[in-house]
Symmetry: C2
Subunit: 320 residues, 2 copies
C-alpha cells in the first residue's frame, strides 16, 4: 500500500488509497490574484492569514503556499517571500504545507525553514528541472508532486503523459527516492475543450496507481474551465477521480459543494469509518430547497485531521 | 459494445457504456406509498399521472411502473391494475417503460398491452422465477433486470452475487436470450450498515461489465439508507458508479442534486457531446449561495431523449 507522509510541526497526514481524500487548499497563491500579489509584495499578509484560517476551517487537509508575485527577477524576489509566507502560515495553522514554486531557489529556501515534512510542488519531466529538484527532495527527505510534462510540452496523448510520469519515477529512483514519495499530477484538461478529458484522466490515474504504485493529485478546477456552473462539474469530477484511484487534489476547500462531494466520496470509498465524519458534518443539515445543499457547518470538518491518521500509526503506515 | 434497446411507441433509447446514463424514474410505485396504493386501488390515477409528467419534465429516460398495491391475492388483483396503469401512463408520456412486479402474471399481462420494447423488472437467480420469467422475455423479445440473489437470499459476499448474475446470464442463454438484453442489478447495500458497500458495488459493476459484458442498474437510494443528508451521498454515489461502469439506475429524477450529478457525470464520461446538454441546462444557473445548487431548469432536461440516441441509429446499435 502506497503511503505518502506529510507533516506540520506536530501533525502527520498520510496520503494513500486507504485514506480520506487529501484536500490541498489552493487559495494562498498570488498567480492570477493581482490584489493578493500586490499585498504580499507590500509586506501585507492579512489575506494570506485569512485564507489560511478559512481553508483550515473548511476542512483542508493541507495548504499549498505559492509566493510567485512577479515574473520580474523571481530568483531574487521569490525565495525571501516564500520563506516569509511559510513562516507566517505555519505560525498560524497546524496543517502540513506544500511549497509551490517554479523557482528552484524558492523551493530550497522554503525547505530550510518549513517545519515537519512538506510536499514540494513541483518537478516536471524536464531534465534540467529534474536535476535541480530531485537532489533537494533526496537531501530534505520530502515528497514531491511530479507533473507529467517535459521539454516537449503537455501531450494530449495520455499514454505519453504516463510515460513522462514513469520517467520521473525512474529518474527519482536513481536518487534513491521511493515511488511513495512521488505524487503524480497526470494533468487535467478542460472537458469543454476536450470531450475525452475525463475518460483520459480516469484511465491515467488507474494506470498510475496499478502500474507505478504512486499517489496522484491534480489542479481540480481545470476540468470545468469555460463551462457554466463549474461547481456542479467539479463536484461530480471529485467522486469520479476518487473512484478511479486519485488520492489528493489541489482545490478550493471553501466551496461547500465540492467539499460535500469529498466527504461523500470518503464515505463511499470506506475511508470515513462508520460514516462518523459525514454524520457529524451533516446530521443537522437543512437543505435550502428540495435536495439542494447549503453551506455545510465547518465545525465538524475541523475534526477531520485528528485521531486515526496522526501519530505513530501514520508514521508506521508511511514506512509500509 | 453492449447495447440494450428499450422503446415506447415511437421513441427508442439505448442503454450502454457509450450512452448517457439511463435514469429510470422510480416514483410510480405504491410499495411503501400507502396513499398512492389506496388511490390506485380506488381507481384514482391522478397521482400516477402527475408523477409521470413530473418525472418526464425532470429528465427521466424511462419510467418504472409498479402496481403492487396489496399483498392479498396479488395474482388476481395485480395483473389488471398493472395493465390499467401502463395504459394510462403510455397514453400520457412517450417514454419507454419498465414493467415492475414480483408477480409473474402481472408481468405477462403488462407485456401484452405495453407499446414499444419495455424493460421487465425483474428476474432473480431463483430457479422457479427463472423458469417463469425467461420464457416471457424470449417470447416478447424484451430486456430484463436480473437481480443477483437466489434461493439462498442476498449474499453479503460480492463474489457470490457475481456468480448468481453469471448463472442468470447462462440460464438466459439457454433460452436464446443475449447478454445485451440482461441488465444486472448487483444489489446495493446501505453504506451506513456496511462500510464496504461502495467498494463492493464499484468492483462488482466493473466485473459485470468486463467479464459478462452486461449493462447494470440499481436501486440508487439504498446506498444512503439511514444516513443524514441522503441526497449528498446519492449525488456522489452516482458519479462513482458511473465511473465504475454502471449504465442505469432506478431513482427519483425529481431530486435536482441527484440529476445534476447525472448530467455532470455524463459530461465527464464523454456522453454529453460538446457538453451541449449541460450548457443548455445550466447556462443561466444562479447558485442560491456560494457553490450551492438550486433547482435546475427542467426545460433543457426534456431535450435529452431526442436526436442522437433514437431512430435507426439506436436500432442498429442494439443489434451490435
Amino acid at each position: 500500500m502506497t503511503h505518502t507522509l506529510v507533516a506540520s510541526a506536530t501533525k502527520e497526514i498520510i496520503i494513500g488509497f486507504d485514506q480520506p481524500f487529501c484536500v490541498i487548499g489552493e487559495r494562498i497563491n498570488p498567480t492570477g490574484r493581482k490584489k493578493l500579489a500586490a499585498e504580499m509584495n507590500a509586506g501585507n499578509f492579512e489575506t494570506v492569514k485569512a485564507d489560511a484560517l478559512a481553508q483550515m476551517a473548511a476542512g483542508a487537509t493541507m495548504l499549498d503556499i505559492n509566493a510567485g508575485v512577479t515574473a520580474v527577477n523571481p530568483n531574487e524576489t521569490e525565495p525571501p517571500l516564500m520563506v516569509q509566507t511559510l513562516q507566517i502560515v505555519q505560525e498560524l495553522v497546524d496543517l502540513p504545507l506544500a511549497i509551490d514554486s517554479s523557482v528552484s531557489s524558492a523551493i530550497k529556501a522554503g525547505l530550510e525553514v518549513v517545519k515537519g515534512r512538506p510536499l514540494v510542488n513541483s518537478v516536471t519531466g524536464e531534465v534540467e528541472k529534474l536535476e535541480e529538484i530531485l537532489p533537494l527532495i533526496k537531501k530534505y527527505d520530502v515528497p514531491v508532486v511530479a507533473i507529467s510534462n517535459d521539454e516537449t510540452g503537455i501531450s494530449e496523448d495520455p499514454d505519453v503523459r504516463f510515460e513522462v510520469a514513469k520517467k520521473i519515477v525512474q529518474h527519482a529512483a536513481d536518487y534513491g527516492i521511493k515511488p511513495h514519495d512521488i505524487v503524480v499530477d497526470p494533468l487535467v484538461m478542460p472537458i469543454g475543450a476536450m470531450g475525452t478529458a475525463g475518460q483520459q484522466v480516469f484511465a491515467l490515474v488507474r494506470r498510475l496507481r496499478n502500474e507505478l504504485g504512486v499517489n496522484t493529485t491534480c489542479g481540480l478546477s481545470n476540468i470545468s474551465f469555460g463551462l457554466p456552473h463549474r461547481h456542479g462539474i467539479n463536484a461530480s469530477f471529485i467522486p469520479m477521480v476518487i473512484a478511479s484511484g486519485m488520492t489528493s487534489a489541489i482545490m478550493n476547500p471553501c466551496r461547500p459543494q465540492e467539499m460535500e462531494a469529498v466527504h461523500a466520496a470518503n464515505v463511499l470509498s470506506g475511508t470515513d469509518e462508520n460514516c462518523s465524519r459525514w454524520i457529524k458534518t451533516y446530521r443537522d443539515y437543512k437543505p435550502a430547497n428540495a435536495g439542494a445543499p447549503v453551506v455545510a457547518p465547518a465545525a465538524a470538518s475541523q475534526e477531520k485531521t485528528g485521531g486515526r491518521r496522526g501519530g505513530r500509526a501514520a508514521r508506521r503506515g508511511a514506512a509500509a
